[in-house]
């Protein structure tokens, strides 16, 4: 099976087999990262541009290394959102990159749908590296990969996503990916940070963390944007930590082999207690490694690689 789409804009709408293809391809990629010499010639002569309108060292570096490990030429463009308020710039920038022979554009943007706009106007393949509060598909995929790696499966698991679901693209991608793969998804956070309409099929919503954690196999703790408090979306950071912070005591309600995820960077002591973040049942560092592997898989598949796992 080969990758059928021009772009990767989100996990919503991806078929189960497509997600499986990416996860299966990521496994041999992870082996490369573990090697002494992390370089295969797979994407030699291919060019990848990371077009970041929002700063994110973590995601950008992850894509950049993924490209470099496969011998692609990678270029970073850090464009400040404020200086590019008009979208014609996005279209123009995309066309320029196209004309320079770019094969893949990886875009991070504060506006939901920006990658869709770009994809419509360029011949290059577009990978969404996070758009507004919409989707962050590669983060979703690395979360799925990490869960599958630890648990051996996704189907039938109960995954609790904890925190600011309303503004979280990570949550959106997780919801679609996990639902497609047959997991049960629970959302939990203060009601002011939960989506206004909860009709997303099959998702359960909680405002009491104890209930949300009951019997959970996985807890995915979202990063709390502390400036939301200044906007009055919740009263104080102190109260948030008390009401919604994940600590050892609360984790007892989960399955004994619970897995804790966090997309990072963490606000330790706010959404997650120190001893939880550093515990063996947390896979937060593993997620970072898996992020590179999953991104290698995506770049590889998009450049025509097949999912046979044959990587030179």
């Amino acid at each position: 099976m080969a990758w059928q789409h021009k772009d990767l804009l989100g996990l919503r709408g991806l078929a189960k087999q497509e997600i499986e293809l990416i996860l299966d391809t990521a496994a041999p990629m992870k082996d490369i990262i573990g090697r002494d010499i992390k370089k295969v010639p797979t994407l030699r002569g291919k060019s990848i541009v990371c077009l970041f309108y929002e700063a994110s060292t973590r995601t950008r570096t992850s894509f950049e290394l993924a490209g470099k490990f496969m011998s692609a030429d990678t270029v970073n463009i850090a464009a400040a959102s404020s200086s590019v308020v008009k979208g014609e710039s996005l279209i123009d920038t995309g066309k320029t990159l196209d004309a320079m022979g770019t094969d893949i554009i990886v875009i991070r943007h504060a506006a939901s749908g920006a990658p869709h706009l770009l994809a419509k106007h360029v011949k290059a393949r577009v990978v969404n590296a996070g758009d507004g509060a919409h989707e962050h598909p590669t983060q979703g995929l690395l979360d799925l990969y990490t869960i599958k790696e630890r648990k051996g499966r996704l189907e039938g698991l109960t995954v609790t996503i904890l925190g600011d679901v309303l503004h979280s693209r990570v949550a959106r991608s997780n919801i679609w990916g996990l639902r497609t793969m047959g997991a049960e998804v629970r959302l939990c956070g203060p009601s002011t940070l939960l989506p206004p309409e909860l009709a997303i099929t099959g998702v359960k919503v909680f405002t009491r963390i104890e209930e949300a954690l009951e019997g959970a196999d996985v807890v995915n703790v979202l990063r709390l944007q502390l400036e939301r408090q200044k906007k009055g979306l919740f009263p104080t950071i102190r109260e948030y930590a008390r009401q919604f912070g994940l600590n050892q005591e609360r984790l007892k309600r989960c399955k004994s082999d619970v897995l804790v995820l966090h997309p990072g960077p963490m606000n330790r002591g706010v959404e997650i207690a120190d001893d939880v973040a550093d515990a063996d049942f947390a896979a937060i560092e593993e997620q970072v490694t898996n992020g590179v592997a999953v991104r290698m898989a995506i770049l590889y598949l998009m450049m025509g690689g097949s999912g046979s796992g044959a990587v030179h």
Partner: protein, 431 residues
């Protein structure tokens, strides 16, 4: 010599007429509706209308012509061409131009430009407050005296209740209607689409339905307390409809209008991030759309308007968040309303025609909206069987911002006559 429109179905709700007949126009005036087969001479001009509908010229009480100041989006000349193509013989132009039409000079400018364009009638709506900034009343009496037909800060609400109350009182004094854009600015802040399932899925900031209904409720209470005439622009939510219905039962002088896109589309159409679907108030849910239909069916809402809001292609070719609100609506209004209201049986043909002619005219005290003998001959001829696929090729408005491109619609205006002069024939604008 006379112009005869021969053999069409003449629908003139103002006079209870709905029959096959000829319309006789002489010297720009309706001279009668009758069987004139024996009276036509070789010198007369005859428009064959068999199988077509002959109705009073359509009146749009809510559109944006963008001149002065925003001529890249639209001018009075291009906007009136779009109107003629859409079967409209008269428009009310909202005052949110640059500068805002908030003075006698502004009103006179629009009237003069429209005269120069000379295609369809344009009635200026004046601002309620200076600069539409919501702080001080604009010179409404002066504007009324020189031709403003109503007052509105459309494009935004009047946020302060005290100012809105003064505006209603003052408009009442000069005998005009306040057209209210109902939106709680804090609740709607930074929103780009309806708040609900689809805003959740798309990760776009939502505009809650309550942001409209809250202001509808406020304005109804204010209008009621001062005995003023209130018209709610672009009603989009079920709750707003309910509030208007209850107010009318109490005897409040309140009316409301519905736009084509709020009937033809829902928030689900935002999927794909097409900025042509970005409009304020936003596309709502199926239930809201159903509520609008029933309100048109039971007569709670009696007026159909376009909220024609043209923008340049460049302004709309961007991220959804950054695009301006608005759909260019004059040229597709009739067939969309037809599909949503006539073909689906929501309105009878006469009440539908009334909602686009006599009802808006009566509400704002405009001339026209009827085919009564002796009035200016503003007439629209519709071919209910004619189908056309919406393309931008023949589009007259500068604003190409329509989400309906590619849709094949039935029932189109095929002739527009203003004061006896044919300004559109066979879908082509003349002059």
């Amino acid at each position: 010599m006379a112009l005869y429109i021969k053999g069409g179905r003449v629908i003139d709700p103002a006079n209870g007429i709905n029959k096959i007949a000829d319309v006789k126009i002489e010297k720009g005036i309706i001279a009668g509706i009758d069987d004139y087969s024996g009276a036509i001479t070789e010198a007369d001009e005859v428009m064959e209308a068999a199988g077509k509908l002959v109705v009073p010229g359509l009146i749009d009480i809510h559109c944006h012509l963008r001149e002065p100041g925003l001529e890249a989006k639209e001018t009075i000349a291009t906007g009136t061409r779009a109107a003629a193509r859409g079967g409209f013989t008269a428009l009310c132009a909202m005052p949110n131009t640059k500068p805002v039409c908030d003075s006698q000079t502004g009103v006179e400018f629009v009237i003069n430009r429209a005269k120069a364009a000379g295609l369809v009638r344009v009635y200026p709506v004046g601002a309620i407050t200076k600069g539409s900034e919501g702080q001080e009343l604009a010179e409404m009496a002066d504007m009324a005296a020189c031709g403003a037909v109503a007052f509105s800060d459309d494009g935004k609400p009047v946020p302060r209740s005290d100012i809105m109350r003064l505006g209603l009182q003052y408009a009442q004094m000069v005998g005009k209607v306040i057209i209210s854009h109902c939106e709680d600015p804090e609740l709607a802040k930074d929103g780009v689409m309806h708040e609900g399932y689809w805003s959740t899925v798309l990760g776009l900031r939502g505009i809650p339905a309550a942001s409209e209904a809250i202001m509808v409720a406020r304005d109804i209470l204010l209008a009621e307390s001062v005995g003023a005439k209130l018209h709610i622009a672009h009603v989009s939510t079920a709750r707003s409809v309910e509030l208007i219905r209850q107010a009318q039962w109490r005897g409040v002088n309140v009316t409301g209008e519905v736009c084509p896109h709020h009937l033809a589309l829902t928030d689900a159409d935002v999927e794909g991030f097409n900025t042509a679907t970005k409009v304020n108030p936003p596309l709502r849910t199926d239930q809201d759309r159903e509520a609008l239909r029933s309100a048109l069916n039971d007569g709670t809402l009696t007026i159909l308007a376009t909220d024609h809001a043209p923008h340049t292609a460049e302004e709309k070719a961007c991220e959804y968040n950054y695009a301006p609100f608005g759909i260019s609506g004059l040229e597709t209004a009739w067939p969309l309303f037809w599909r949503e209201l006539v073909e689906s049986g929501v309105m009878t043909l006469p009440s539908f025609v009334a909602a686009m002619t006599v009802a808006p005219a009566k509400r704002l005290g405009l001339p026209g909206g009827t085919l009564s003998t002796g009035v200016a001959a503003d007439v629209t001829i519709i071919d209910p069987e004619y189908t056309e696929t919406v393309t931008l090729e023949n589009w007259q408005s500068k604003g190409k911002n329509t989400p309906f491109v590619g849709q094949t619609l039935r029932s189109w205006p095929v002739a527009t006559i203003v004061g006896g002069r044919v300004v559109m024939r066979d879908r082509q604008v003349i002059g």
